[in-house]
């Protein structure tokens, strides 16, 4: 049996009192010995920060393990659930506190799966934020190596001087983020380049 999926519609501007929740951006506490900040800004096609976007991340733990523990909406301070949700602030900036994901297999470079929602965006966009690593590790990755070389950098987080990971999202423009589509998940962009 094959059923046609229900179409998506925009999250709209007024999700702010409904989807974000206390602790949504903190997958671990800041005092966790492996805690790292993943943060960045969401930009529109004019390079202007988007003030009404929402990001979610979904990731393995430091050892590459995938959590199936409940507790993502009510953080107990101990359980790593692998999932986080953060709205951008008034200047388009988001911030997660988490641990760096481990690799889930041979030849798979570690990454955060990132989902972007926003007013004006009819369906969520998927992308990946890879950990910055030595070029040979990244070159071996199946997905990264399939992306044109001149756009690959949009999928790799930057190590900031303070040790945090910077990852900006650009909906359009010279630095347009590579957004991903998967088998069985139809998305229609409309006219593209």
């Amino acid at each position: 049996m094959r059923l046609t999926p229900t179409p998506a519609q925009t999250v709209g501007p007024f999700f702010g009192y409904a989807l974000p929740y206390a602790g949504g951006e903190a997958l671990v506490d800041r005092s966790h010995p492996g805690a790292v900040r993943l943060h960045g800004t969401v930009y529109d096609g004019d390079g202007v920060p988007v003030p009404d976007a929402l990001l979610e991340i979904w990731q393995p733990d430091e050892h590459g393990g995938i959590s199936q523990q409940p507790g993502s909406l009510h953080r107990d301070g101990y359980t790593f659930t692998g999932w986080g949700r953060a709205a951008v602030d008034g200047v388009g900036h988001y911030s997660f506190t988490t641990v760096e994901p481990g690799s889930t297999g041979d030849g798979v470079a570690p990454y955060f799966l990132v989902t972007v929602f926003a007013r004006g965006l009819m369906d969520r966009l998927f992308t990946r934020a890879y950990l910055p690593a030595d070029p040979s590790t990244l070159e071996q990755d199946r997905l990264l190596s399939s992306v044109p070389a001149d756009r690959r950098q949009t999928l790799i987080a930057t190590r900031e001087p303070d040790g945090s990971l910077g990852f900006d999202i650009h909906f359009q423009g010279a630095q347009e983020t590579v957004f991903l589509t998967y088998p069985n998940t139809p998305q229609f962009t409309g006219p593209v380049e």
Binding site: L3, G12, Y17, W58, L113, L143, V147, F171, F179, P191
Partner: protein
């Protein structure tokens, strides 16, 4: 042709001008579909009559990815996360909210027909006057002190969900001059793979604003648009209490290879 005004709050164009843009896109779509082209089952990310999409859609084709381990799983939710009381939006405050009490119920299944059980369903909506409990919503309609408009639940063993709420009203927005949104409830859903994640909106049957609403019309295919409209179901209505709507949600197919014992229950 003059460059499009990309300010989503410009309210510059008339409804007739927006209607003409929608009709042109839908006409082109029907022609290419009738000529054997692809049937579009989803909204277009780039739908110019919805002005906010102009600067926020990808301009390059989405890049095909084969899901890897983390993408084949989804976060787990349980009653640690969601209280059963959160499915009733009419009991969150000290008094009765104003408006038509409704139950919205249905099933969440995936593209392979499997029930999506034990997963989180979140919803949010405007009140009976068409206003959200959100400080940026400055539309001059009354706020209801007894209605916040946020609900959550977990799907049951057969993928079923049910919310008790108040029927939301249409509301104005600034996409164009005299722009109104069809009444709707936002839904956020997870599947068994993270690639099934979806946010969408449920609409009410017979809404006179459907044809005028560029967000609803961003789905170019009529059959696909119809999938967002609930059905009035008198068996869900209750004597002296509420009217009832039924709306089933189909997530995309799973990308996971299912073990036999998982398929049996």
């Amino acid at each position: 042709m003059a460059e499009k005004n990309t300010n989503p709050d410009a309210a510059a164009l008339s409804q007739a001008e927006i209607d003409a843009e929608i009709a042109a896109i839908h006409g082109e779509y029907r022609a290419q579909r009738d000529a054997g082209g692809q049937v579009e089952t989803n909204a277009r990310l780039n739908f110019p009559p919805y002005r906010s999409s102009l600067l926020r859609h990808p301009t390059k084709s989405l890049h095909h990815a084969d899901p890897e381990d983390i993408e084949l799983y989804s976060p787990a939710f349980g009653h640690r996360d969601v209280s059963p009381l959160e499915a009733d939006l009419t009991i969150q405050h000290n008094g009765e909210p104003i408006g038509e009490r409704i139950i919205v119920t249905g099933r969440v299944i995936d593209g392979d027909g499997r029930a999506v059980a034990g997963q989180l369903v979140e919803m949010w909506q405007a009140n009976a006057a068409g206003r959200y409990m959100h400080k940026r919503d400055q539309h001059p309609a009354p706020l209801d002190p007894n209605f916040t408009g946020v609900g959550r639940t977990l799907t049951g063993p057969n993928g079923e969900y049910s919310f008790t709420t108040i029927k939301p009203a249409p509301y104005p927005w600034k996409n164009h001059n005299n722009a109104w949104r069809s009444a709707h409830i936002h839904f956020s859903l997870f599947g068994t793979d993270f690639t099934q994640r979806i946010v969408t909106q449920m609409y009410f049957p017979g809404d006179p604003i459907f044809a005028l609403d560029p967000i609803y019309q961003s789905i170019t295919d009529q059959a696909a648009r119809d999938r967002l409209v609930a059905t009035y179901d008198h068996s869900v209505s209750q004597h002296e209490w509420n009217t009832g709507y039924r709306w089933d949600i189909v997530l995309s197919g799973s990308n996971r290879t299912w073990a036999e014992q998982e398929e049996e229950h």
